[in-house]
């Protein structure tokens, strides 16, 4: 919402410097995003009491220097001796006469007509004035310097709107009103500044000059200047009775509809002051009729619609038109003012007559009944529309308009009548014509403006600061709430009546909260002291799932892995790459977006493996070694409800050289299955998980011989291994093993014990011994280790595999596994005899269970 200060001054005195006013409005919820100077200046130097921290608003635009840009009078327009398109103006600037050269097309018709009967008042820029260059696009500052143009000296200028920063127009010079005082600094006459205010959904009432003026009045303690009779008009025409009628079919969607009629209006340009205000507010002047409907909308917030009355009479077969409001029939069509033929939804409200639809209610008029230059008689509509329904229509039609902007945020029905009155009177004043007496006003669903009881105690309870009853009343009254204070034994109580221009105040408890917000923001949030909560502390709880998840992150980072976070959104084809081609699709369906932003991210992910592989793809050529992990949810469509299951997963990916090479020798061999397994073992031991089982499995993502499933207890926790070569091929990977794991983090965390016991550090030395056995190739190494542990009992405290050996001597399908064992007792040093006994037990067990032979 663009608010010219000059217009604001119609309704309230501005008592603060503009930058401070902008700051105060911003703090009170009307964020002034930008202040554009159009002539006025603001005091320079630091802002705010202590010189910092109040710069909120971006300031742009042009200040007109008082001594250089003034009002001047042109008394004669003469031809230029050497150029047809240029003229010479005899001009008086209050000090002396000048001859000023201009090419303005709007003076050409006066060329050589001799002294003007009435001098033309114009904005005049003297030598050295800083203005915008009229011939360059945008706003480029320039300083007026003496020059010779086609043989004539030129050192000053009569200005266009573009040169003064009023608009982009450079078609001619500005012609000021005749009353403009010659010699007066132009800034003092039409100098202005425009606040660009961001309107919150809750402050729709401020989408008007009057609405902003109310806030300024409340904030600065000035009275709102709304003259009695502001909304009255002088009706000298015949009565409107019998000339038009209204039928409202759905009052919930159209609570009020008001019509006024003005006859014999003369369409023409609107006066410069109105055009200038419209331009400053960001609207393009058209003609007096259109400009007035826009002007009233900007001024008081009520959009109006003007019908060509004669067209309506014609459509009604020569009879008085009947305006009907109703919802559209399914598939009904209407061509709107923007020339688009629209198919309407059955919830959209139309304004119709007996011959058909005229406009989409509150959003945009139809092309057929549009006013034209020939229009003489105007039927003026002011209506109230249900804002939710208006918004729904805007969304369905993808149609924006200034009227819809306001109606979709809520305009009070009381404003409908005021808007029509103000519009008719301005039309009479600026276009002549006679206003018919009376209005046609249907108001089937009168607004009930809430009455709320509020006590200072309630205000203090929520704000934490006592606000005296007098101050509460003063604040509310400054916003035009009517207050009635009653003294009760419990204290004062205020009966607050909501004014009939706002719809954002609720009833009862919600109304109280609404009022307290109004009190707080006008009182000033900055005046409410900061406190620390004195309330009882709630029961304190841990969050084990998060705490354990963070522990997993720390463990993985400790082991040298870097955390990544990927998009939750992906595409089924992107995820399909994580399995070998030809693998059947998953059984679970994806959850699809109805409105994806990008076509390659249209579903919620099923796989974290896919996420980390994409990260490898991105980085693999940047680093010789990658070790990444991600923790996050996957989303599986649930059979039970519509909401998907969100399962927390952990994915790990490792590829490249084992160690980072420096200038010294490093292990730059490619990492393999066991590097990944080492990380997983480190993670699981860090979480104190025991009863693990690793089982060789086949999985469509992994190499069939280098893939395993992790089990804890009876629960599968996920699969890990080396990526299947056919999967690697589907990514942009160079040759080399990519190791990856995807684990069910929720289950893993649930299995992690809350407590674990430390075992005491042994006081007696262990007996260390190596044990090598030859077993069949198919016997898994961890089976052997497990048997050693079982047979060794508590005496064997460490079983570490240190060599795997195969040779012809051992025989085919045989391997030697060498373990380093520690034998230990908590209470004594073991003797050779003790150890020999245990060793025998182990060997016997291995022979029995696996056919192992001791290797000598």
């Amino acid at each position: 919402m663009k608010v010219p200060i000059s217009w604001l001054r119609d309704f309230v005195d501005i008592t603060l410097p503009l930058d401070e006013l902008a700051h105060r409005l911003t703090m009170a919820g009307l964020e002034v995003e930008e202040m554009t100077l159009v002539g006025l200046s603001i005091p320079s130097g630091p802002l705010g009491a202590d010189g910092r921290g109040s710069l909120d608003t971006k300031i742009s635009g042009l200040s007109w220097e008082a001594d250089k840009i003034v009002v001047a009078a042109v008394s004669e327009v003469m031809p230029h001796p050497n150029a047809d398109r240029l003229v010479l103006c005899k001009l008086y600037d209050g000090e002396r006469e000048h001859i000023v050269l201009t090419g303005a097309p709007n003076l050409q018709h006066l060329k050589g007509t001799g002294p003007l009967p009435q001098p033309l008042k114009v904005p005049y820029a003297r030598l050295g004035a800083r203005i915008y260059d009229g011939h360059q696009p945008g706003q480029v500052l320039t300083t007026l310097k003496p020059a010779k143009i086609r043989g004539i000296e030129s050192y000053s200028m009569i200005c266009s709107e573009k040169e003064l920063g009023i608009s982009e127009e450079h078609d001619g010079i500005i012609i000021l009103d005749d009353e403009a005082p010659v010699g007066l600094p132009l800034a003092d006459y039409i100098g202005d500044a425009v606040f660009d205010i961001a309107i919150l959904p809750s402050t729709a009432r401020t989408a008007s000059i009057l609405g902003v003026a109310r806030e300024v009045a409340a904030i600065t303690g000035q009275p709102l200047r709304l003259m009695p009779g502001f909304f009255s008009y002088s009706a000298e025409g015949p009565s409107i009775e019998g000339k038009a009628s209204i039928q409202i079919t759905t009052p919930e969607l159209n609570p009020r509809f008001v019509l006024g009629l003005i006859q014999d209006l003369k369409i023409g340009p609107s006066p410069y002051w109105m055009q200038r205000r419209l331009k400053l507010a960001g609207m393009r002047p058209i003609n007096n009729l259109v400009d007035i409907t826009n002007y009233v909308m900007l001024e008081i917030g009520q959009p109006l619609h003007a019908f060509d009355y004669d067209v309506l009479v014609q459509r009604a077969g020569g009879k008085a038109p009947t305006i009907i409001t109703r919802t559209a029939e399914a598939g009904e069509r209407l061509t709107t003012l923007d020339g688009v033929e629209r198919t309407l939804n059955d919830f959209s409200v139309l304004v119709c007559d007996t011959a058909g639809a005229l406009s989409i209610a509150g959003v945009m008029g139809g092309a057929e009944s549009e006013v034209s230059d020939q229009t003489r008689n105007i039927l003026l509509e002011g209506a109230a529309w249900n804002y939710i329904n208006t918004r729904r229509t805007m969304g369905a039609q993808k149609l924006q308009s200034e009227a819809a902007y306001r109606f979709s945020r809520g305009v009070h029905p009381a404003m409908a009548e005021r808007g029509v009155r103000r519009g008719l009177e301005l039309m009479r004043l600026l276009g002549g014509g006679a206003i018919c007496q009376g209005l046609v006003d249907h108001y089937p669903l009168p607004a009930s403006d809430p009455k709320i009881t509020l006590t200072p105690a309630e205000v203090e309870r929520l704000l934490g600061v006592p606000v005296p009853v007098e101050q509460i009343v003063k604040i509310l009254e400054s916003l035009e709430f009517a207050c009635q204070v009653t003294q009760t034994p419990e204290g004062a109580s205020i009966l607050v009546q909501t004014p009939d221009h706002r719809l954002d105040i609720g009833n009862d408890l919600i109304g109280k909260a609404d009022l307290i917000e109004e009190i707080a923001r006008i009182y000033g949030y900055d005046r409410i002291p900061e406190t620390r909560m004195a309330d009882a502390l709630p029961p304190q709880r841990n969050n084990p799932s998060l705490e354990r998840e963070e522990r997993v992150r720390d463990l993985l980072v400790e082991m040298g892995l870097t955390e990544i976070v990927s998009y939750r959104l992906t595409h089924p084809d992107r995820e399909a790459r994580r399995v070998a081609p030809g693998t059947p699709p998953e059984d679970k369906p994806y959850l699809y977006l109805a409105n994806p932003m990008a076509s390659d991210r249209n579903v919620l992910r099923h796989s974290l493996l896919s996420s980390v592989l994409e990260a490898v793809e991105r980085n693999i050529r940047l680093r010789p070694r990658l070790a990444l992990f991600e923790i996050g949810p996957v989303f599986m469509s649930s059979e039970e409800g519509t909401l998907p299951d969100e399962m927390q997963r952990l994915a790990i990916v490792m590829t490249g050289e084992r160690d980072l090479a420096g200038w010294q020798k490093a292990d730059t061999e490619p990492m393999d299955f066991y590097d990944l397994k080492g990380v997983l073992e480190g993670l699981l031991s860090g979480m104190h998980l025991s009863a693990l089982r690793i089982e060789a499995v086949e999985h469509p993502s992994f190499h069939p011989g280098k893939c395993a499933r992790l089990w804890i207890g009876g629960q599968p926790l996920g699969v890990f291994g080396e990526l299947h070569p056919l999967v690697s091929e589907r990514y942009d990977f160079p040759a080399g093993a990519v190791l990856a794991a995807e684990l069910d983090l929720t289950s893993l965390l649930a299995l992690a014990p809350e407590r674990y016991e430390m075992s005491s550090v042994p006081a007696f030395p262990p007996v260390l011994e190596d044990l090598a056995v030859v077993v069949d190739e198919i016997v898994p190494a961890d089976r052997v280790a497990e048997l050693i542990r079982q047979a060794g009992g508590r005496t064997v405290t460490e079983v570490r595999l240190f060599d795997v050996y195969r040779s012809e001597q051992l025989g085919t399908e045989k391997k030697s596994l060498a373990y380093s064992l520690a034998y230990q007792a908590p209470d004594r040093t073991l003797t050779d005899k003790d150890v020999a006994q245990v060793r025998q037990k182990i060997i016997r067990r291995l022979e029995q269970e696996t056919g192992a032979k001791l290797r000598s």
Partner: protein
């Protein structure tokens, strides 16, 4: 005999002066202190000496032996010291050569900021509550006082799914309803972190997914002053003890009164710079007193309970703290970005 002892001693000590390495030292020992050394022969002959001479010569012979033993020990130690000095000199390194690279792991910057937020609020008694990322329209909007087609819905561009009424949460606020319904009638102090989603064109400033940390305090006497105090305390710990805050009137459907908290730009000290667009202030979070309708939807009677809520973006905080100019870095997973944290 005594003269012989003098000669033995002198010859031995003179010979020792020429000994330079371990081998000659051993030779010297054999020659002068060994079984067949002249000194040993003196000891061997002691028995043949007269009663008068024996103690005299014996004492002197022992003195000479002790002297030679000591000389041997000294020489041995001196040679060890010299050898060590030679080795240390030979092992001198170029200390300016780079160290051996360590493959250090790192937490994602969002995780790091989230943890800092957790810590600060934990100290104020706030605990962490997480809830789902895919939500129902009911929890994401309706329960939060945002009815269908309400103009306030323009504040959130939403990803809808093809399942009716199922959407990607646009904020962590649905967690407010979950936590209230779970904890009623106890007082509440929680923060609700998590990933949120907006249907927005991705740019340097805007992402389709981002973390949010919501906060909720509900109790019998929670006030707007408490809201200001709690969040200003947070800002001072997050951005610096001297940092000032201010609260601007704002609008959220689920709070009333609502505010935006600005923090004085900690990069320029409020003087105005590129990061704060010359305003001296940084918009950090939205907040307000919990709307009576929301309290009621959570099961709490707004006549007996009051509360405040707030929401902030950890990525925005990270961007300000580390001068990250493009939000798209966060989920692009480029190691050249991640390795800087």
């Amino acid at each position: 005999m005594l003269t012989q002892l003098e000669q033995i001693e002198k010859a031995a000590l003179d010979a020792l002066k020429n000994v330079q390495d371990e081998a000659s030292l051993e030779q010297w020992r054999i020659a002068h202190l060994g079984r067949s050394a002249p000194l040993m022969q003196v000891f061997d002959q002691l028995g043949k000496l007269s009663k008068e001479e024996r103690p005299l010569i014996g004492r002197r012979a022992n003195e000479v032996k002790r002297g030679l033993d000591n000389a041997l020990a000294e020489q041995s130690e001196a040679m060890r010291q010299a050898a060590l000095a030679r080795t240390l000199t030979a092992e001198r390194l170029d200390v300016t050569l780079p160290g051996r690279p360590i493959g250090r792991g790192r937490l994602h910057p969002s995780t790091q900021i989230l943890r800092q937020i957790y810590r600060i609020f934990a100290d104020m008694g706030f605990q962490i509550y997480r809830s789902r990322e895919v939500e129902s329209d009911e929890y994401n909007f309706e329960m939060l006082n945002i009815p269908a087609h309400h103009p306030a819905r323009d504040m959130w561009d939403t990803f809808h799914t093809t399942a009716p009424g199922v959407l990607l949460r646009t904020h962590t606020s649905p967690g407010q309803i979950h936590v209230m319904r779970e904890y009623y009638p106890q007082p509440i102090r929680v923060i609700l972190p998590g990933m949120c989603f907006r249907y927005e064109q991705i740019s340097a400033r805007k992402e389709t997914q981002f973390n949010q940390v919501e906060g909720l305090a509900v109790g019998h006497h929670i006030t707007f002053g408490d809201l200001k105090g709690t969040l200003s305390d947070f800002a001072r710990r997050m951005f610096g003890e001297q940092v000032r805050t201010r609260f601007r009137t704002s609008y959220f459907p689920f709070t009333e009164p609502s505010a935006e908290m600005d923090v004085e730009c900690f990069l320029c000290g409020g003087k105005g710079c590129g990061v704060c667009s010359g305003t001296g202030w940084l918009e950090i979070l939205g907040c307000g007193m919990v709307h009576p309708t929301v309290l009621r939807n959570g099961g709490y009677d707004p006549l007996k309970f009051s509360g405040f809520a707030f929401g902030m973006g950890p990525e925005r905080i990270a961007m300000l703290r580390y001068k990250i100019e493009d939000i798209r870095y966060f989920w692009a997973n480029d190691v050249r970005f991640l390795e800087q944290f």
